[in-house]
């Protein structure tokens, strides 16, 4: 099947509130997409992530879920968490909340051990996960001694050891310094490109995340208000992202301002080399044709 995630008419309210935290969400996600989710704090992003990996409805039982979420053919209401977590790996903002063993290697082995996999298979999976996030040199280290960026890579490796097809990351770089954030986002991009893992990431650092995104979702008040290619954001008929509290990277702000002054460009760049190339080849010529 084409769509690895299918969401129909999804709504969820926590037990403590009658107001739904998310509502009216319909979404199809294709295998191998790299989806960035943006929006104000409290807009429902984290709730949405919990629906993808089955924490909702299985863990948040006091709440009311309506509609359906299907991940790789499994309806999350009908399958237990341990089945869903082998399809959808989840990484949180604070890696420490996810790490618990005395060495990196043990931490990564924890998930496969719990699935009761044979010893040899566990060994293979741990090695592969260490390689994928480039932390083989840290295997004997204690997770709590590592830097935030390294810890987050260990958390990603622990999830990868379950060989999920979908990786959901809820603000994975929020507590990291810029170097750590770049490392982690590079690793994630690599997973999407090389392993064809479908990536769904909540990320405030759009200047980094949009470089790899195939699709951007903006959430507001619990529902989706934008679902398209990032390039579409600056088109005239689209509500500016700022309205929903999403700050555009300064590169995009620059291009928007130039377009407001009558310049036009063949495409909107989300990375620096492309931006420079477009400026050098198109900025002058726009004027010469108009004159």
């Amino acid at each position: 099947m084409d769509n690895i995630v299918q969401i129909r008419d999804l709504e969820f309210s926590y037990g403590t509130s009658r107001q739904p935290a998310i509502r009216e969400i319909d979404l199809d996600i294709k295998k191998g997409e790299y989806i960035v989710i943006a929006g104000l704090s409290g807009c429902g992003k984290s709730t949405f992530c919990r629906c993808l990996n089955g924490l909702i409805p299985h863990f948040y039982r006091a709440g009311v879920m309506k509609g359906s979420v299907t991940v790789d053919g499994l309806d999350t209401r009908e399958h237990p968490l341990y089945e869903i977590t082998q399809k959808v790996g989840m990484v949180f903002q604070d890696p420490e909340s996810q790490l618990m063993a005395l060495t990196v290697e043990r931490d990564i082995a924890f998930g496969p051990e719990n699935l009761g996999l044979p010893r040899e298979e566990i060994r293979i999976r741990v090695e592969e996960a260490l390689e994928l996030v480039k932390i083989a040199h840290l295997r004997e280290r204690a997770p709590h001694e590592l830097s935030g960026g390294e810890q987050q890579r260990v958390a990603i490796a622990s999830v990868l050891a379950l060989q999920p097809k979908i990786l959901v990351l809820d603000e994975p770089t929020a507590n990291l310094d810029p170097a750590g954030a770049v490392d982690v986002l590079n690793i994630i991009e690599n997973l999407q490109v090389q392993k064809k893992i479908t990536v769904i990431i909540v990320e405030h650092r759009l200047e980094l995340a949009l470089q790899s995104a195939t699709r951007l979702l903006i959430m507001h008040d619990g529902t989706l208000v934008f679902d398209d290619k990032p390039e579409r954001l600056i088109e005239k008929d689209i509500t500016p992202a700022e309205v929903y509290g999403v700050q555009m990277p300064s590169l995009i702000q620059l291009f928007t301002q130039l377009m407001d002054e009558g310049h036009s460009f063949s495409q909107i760049p989300f990375n620096i080399p492309l931006a420079a190339a477009i400026i050098l080849s198109e900025l002058g010529s726009a004027r010469s044709t108009s004159e």
Binding site: S41, A179, Q247, L283
Partner: protein, 273 residues
């Protein structure tokens, strides 16, 4: 109110030398950003500004008061300190109690406390949360409560550790606006941040640190466009600066020290002619 740091060394009890011969003067009314990689000594340095840490060697003077001889309580009236992790400073059962705690402890008059509180909660968009428990709030909201509980004391010097971390675009802009406003009222602001786009936009004086030393101190425009400093501090240039460098690679006349969008636009339009 100025802060003078003279030949400051600090070694943690564990033996880790975190600061090595740091000298720095922050003048009254200045707005400075301290930047650097994790472990560079930024937080250790600012903890000296309110006497939370005392120098192993050297001195820190807040105005003319040597922090070695003053108590943290005494300094708290002059220097407000907002921690990176709000949970390090929140402990009461409601947001309102939390904000009133400091001024009540110093026996400020009740009406003044009420007035100051209303001002900061409006400022920080916390009005609807006054009766809530700080621990039921989101991280971004808790951060604003921590900030409110410090601002309500009207400190002349405000120290902020990573104020924009974990904040969305709107809250970030609010925080920036607030910092600008407090600065315009004559308050001295020193903040630690990794957020280079934020610094590029608001352009405070920038102090760059690595391995317990100050390696650059100057205008944002100069420090953030200095490749050597950026490399040593593991910072990436602002997006606009990176673009300027990329263009200059192919068009040598293009200036490399551009950090703001508006300046970039001007330079690009000039290029076009």
């Amino acid at each position: 109110m100025s802060i003078t740091v003279k030949n400051l060394d600090y070694t943690y009890p564990s033996g880790v030398a975190a600061l090595n011969n740091v000298s720095l003067k922050i003048n009254k009314g200045e707005h400075i950003a301290i930047m650097g990689a994790n472990g560079a000594g930024k937080t250790t340095l600012i903890k000296h500004f309110n006497g939370l840490l005392k120098p192993t060697k050297g001195h820190v003077l807040v105005n003319d008061i040597d922090t070695i001889t003053s108590s943290v309580a005494e300094m708290a009236k002059i220097v407000g300190f907002v921690f990176q992790n709000p949970d390090h400073q929140l402990f009461l059962t409601t947001v309102e109690e939390e904000i009133k705690f400091g001024p009540t402890n110093f026996n400020f008059p009740e009406e003044q406390i009420q007035r100051d509180m209303e001002k900061v909660v409006t400022f920080l968009n916390l009005k609807n949360l006054l009766k809530r428990s700080p621990f039921s709030l989101s991280e971004g909201e808790r951060k604003r409560v921590a900030l409110a509980s410090v601002l309500v004391m009207n400190p002349e010097i405000l120290i902020l550790d990573e104020p924009t971390m974990g904040q969305d675009a709107i809250q970030k802009r609010n925080i920036a606006k607030m910092i600008e406003e407090l600065n315009q009222q004559g308050r001295t602001i020193a903040l630690v941040t990794h957020d280079i786009e934020f610094v590029a936009e608001y352009q405070p004086r920038v102090v760059a640190m690595t391995e317990g030393r100050v390696i650059a101190d100057g205008m944002a425009k100069d420090v953030l466009t200095n490749l050597e400093v950026l490399t040593k501090t593991k910072l990436r240039p602002p997006q606009i600066t990176a673009l300027a460098w990329e263009i200059a690679n192919q068009k040598q006349s293009f200036p490399k020290d551009v950090i703001t969008i508006s300046e970039m636009k001007t330079k690009l339009l000039a290029l076009e002619r």
